[in-house]
Amino acid sequence: MSVSHDYKAMAPMPDDEQPLPVDSEVARTMAGLAEDVEAIYVASNWKLVWWRFRKHRLALVSGLVAIMVTIVALFPDFFSTQDPQKTSATKAFIPPQGIEFFDEGGLSPFVYNVEGKRNPRTLAMEWQTDETTKIPVRFFVRSYSYEVLGVFEADIHLLGVADSAGQTQIHLLGTDRLGRDQWSRLMHGTQVSLSIGLVSVILSIFFGILLGGISGYFGGISDLIIQRLIEILQSLPPIPIWMAFTAALPQDWSVKRVYFAITIILSLIGWTTLGREVRGRFLALREEDFVVAAQLAGCSQMRVIFRHMVPTFTSHIIATSTLAIPMMIINETFLSFLGLGLRPPAISWGVLLQEAQNLQSIVLAPWLLLPSLAVIVTVLALNILGDGLRDAADPYAH
């Protein structure tokens, strides 16, 4: 492009030097232009990033989706219809029940009841919709009580049967082989899957900045060692290593311990990419004039690092990390799917999909695959969001 803009030149000419007669049109245009440019000139970096991000509509939508998923992850019980761990031998493999919204002309949502009969030949339960019985469904009902974020108790749920004391429940996504409600399990799985992704990435960032920073800023022996370490870790094939580590976790560990162990295992190899980038940035920044100036001004090393050097690439870290979260989610999902990651009674998307591990189960109950949609949508949204953030944060993109 042959056109260049010189924003500095947009400042209006000082009046006393102006050789032009005051032509109102020209003067007004110039003044107006100067104001606009002033607005761009003084906006902070974060504001600029936000403005650029706003233009990317798909990323905005993805951001909304990500926020919605996060809300479900924060308050899974609010969205659930029943206790996700509750089993019922008589209610195995119920197919998903759709909500009918109109009952005899009026807005009154309900679900048809299902009756189960055991097929004498295959011994499998077969379910028929019983259109004579209608189970009314209401929004914001009171049902089983739960803890909100571990702080206080509540018993309101987004939706559920109108008469929760009665026995019949609804199963929006059907049930599995133990009669557990898939919808509620999906809601709870969201909490675990999303949080594992987030925590792993946070750990990776921590290790990455710490080790990458030491390596890049101090150089010398520490740089040599850490660089070799990064190289070795990066040449390891991650999947077998993860499999081996997770298989090594003792069977008797509690869900919480397994959870944390898995986040650590996932981040052990995950930090290397960030570590390398951080190291590179620190190496380059060390020579920059503004860093030398800060040092000469008497800033302590901590201050130089955190106040001057790190802020130059925080937006980049945020953008790349947002892209790392969906990767971690997929990793945890497949590890649990193989039976190596989280185990029941923990609920994650991977654990849910473990029920759908072979062809026979899927043929019997294809709705067991539905959690995969949750994975796809969430990962898709996070990927697009991450892309959008990265484009907006990169000042050299245009």
């Binding site: 492009m1 042959s2 056109v3 260049s4 803009h5 010189d6 030149a9 947009m10 000419m13 030097e17 050789p19 032009l20 007669p21 032509d23 049109e25 020209v26 245009t29 232009l33």
Partner: protein, 349 residues
């Protein structure tokens, strides 16, 4: 030098606009000039005045979202008589009307009109040798085999003054120094004996000593082969050395045209006058301010009304210069200027 009455290339009212999200940039807005056989035409102007876009338009390599929206570029192609020859046909082709990717235009590019780009480092691909790229140009337009092409390439490298051309032909562009690279680039441009050479600021990227060598080279080659050159630069000193005829551009329009001596000794347009005044001179008194042109180039989306130079013009006439846009008109028998000081003719629209 052969000055004929019909020009080799005649650009008439060329308009190239860029359609961006934020608005339309009129990079070239009604530019006309003629290039005669064997003549060196200099296009001079500040950054952003549209010189590069003009020559890219001539070669039809303007990138999207740019487009030629109006005008004609009449070019007299070679008469097809074996390997070149001096016969020129009497027909004109309008380069604007040709398909930008079509065979006809591609056979003109490189063979009849060649480009010496601004940055030879970036213009050579780093993964192929210099020789590979020169030979490619030769094979594209001439009916020779690989060995002959290689021989021709070596001869060209020798002609531009590259020592040990048989070795250098296998070098990569990043292995050569700046001056050698520029010479290699000239060799590539001349490899098919073009009749029109377009040099886009060929001396900007090199130091002054090398600059002198390159200019000498271009001059001698031009005299030897009788090539016409369109020479683009912002450096008035280089124009004085190289050009026979000059056009001065500002913000996409031509402000003044004329023979080089007249432009330098008798400038007509206020812009040309201001440019000449702003050249630092060894002879000027010390401790005096260097005259500059007030203000700076307007934002491309906010062109001044009327004459595009009027906000910075020392001879601005209120209610005249800001109301209508002057068109390029002769002011004497050799120069033309686009200024209401000399005539009253405005552009339509």
């Amino acid at each position: 030098m052969d000055t004929q009455t019909t020009p080799l290339l005649s650009v008439r009212n060329l308009k190239t606009y860029f359609y961006l999200d934020e608005g339309t940039v009129k990079a070239v807005d009604g530019v006309s000039f003629d290039v005669y056989s064997g003549q060196v035409l200099g296009i001079v102007g500040e950054s952003g005045c549209g010189k590069s876009v003009t020559i890219k338009s001539v070669l039809r390599i303007v990138e999207k979202p740019g487009r030629i929206v109006d005008g004609a570029m009449l070019f007299r192609p070679q008469k097809k008589n074996g390997r070149g020859g001096s016969g020129e046909s009497d027909d004109f082709i309008d380069l604007v009307k040709l398909n930008a990717h079509g065979k006809q235009l591609r056979s003109i590019r490189g063979a009849e009109i060649a480009l010496i780009p601004q940055e030879p480092m970036a213009a050579f691909s780093p993964v192929y040798t210099v020789g590979n790229q020169i030979i490619e140009a030769i094979l594209l337009h001439q009916d020779v085999n690989k060995q002959e092409a290689r021989q021709m390439a070596i001869e060209r490298l020798h002609e531009v003054g590259i020592p040990s051309p048989e070795r250098r032909i296998n070098a990569y562009s990043w292995e050569l120094s700046g001056g050698l690279r520029q010479r290699a680039m000239i060799a590539m441009a001349l490899s098919c004996n073009p009749r029109l050479l377009i040099a886009d600021e060929p001396t900007t990227a090199i130091d002054v000593t090398t600059q002198a060598q390159v200019l000498n080279l271009l001059r001698s080659l031009q005299q030897q082969h009788g090539t016409s050159i369109i020479f683009i630069t912002h450096d008035l000193g280089v124009i004085a050395q190289m050009a026979a005829y000059v056009i001065v551009m500002y913000l996409g329009s031509v402000m003044e045209t004329g023979p080089v001596d007249d432009i330098f000794h008798n400038p007509q347009h206020p812009y040309t006058k201001a440019l000449l005044k702003s050249i630092p001179s060894v002879q000027s008194q010390s401790r005096t301010f260097l005259p500059t042109i007030e203000g700076s180039i307007p934002h491309p989306f906010n062109r001044p009304s009327g004459c595009s130079f009027h906000p910075r013009c020392l001879e601005f006439m209120p209610n005249v210069c800001n109301r209508r846009t002057p068109s390029l008109q002769p002011v004497n028998d050799r120069q033309s200027a686009s200024c209401f000081l000399y005539h009253d003719a405005a552009e339509e629209d």
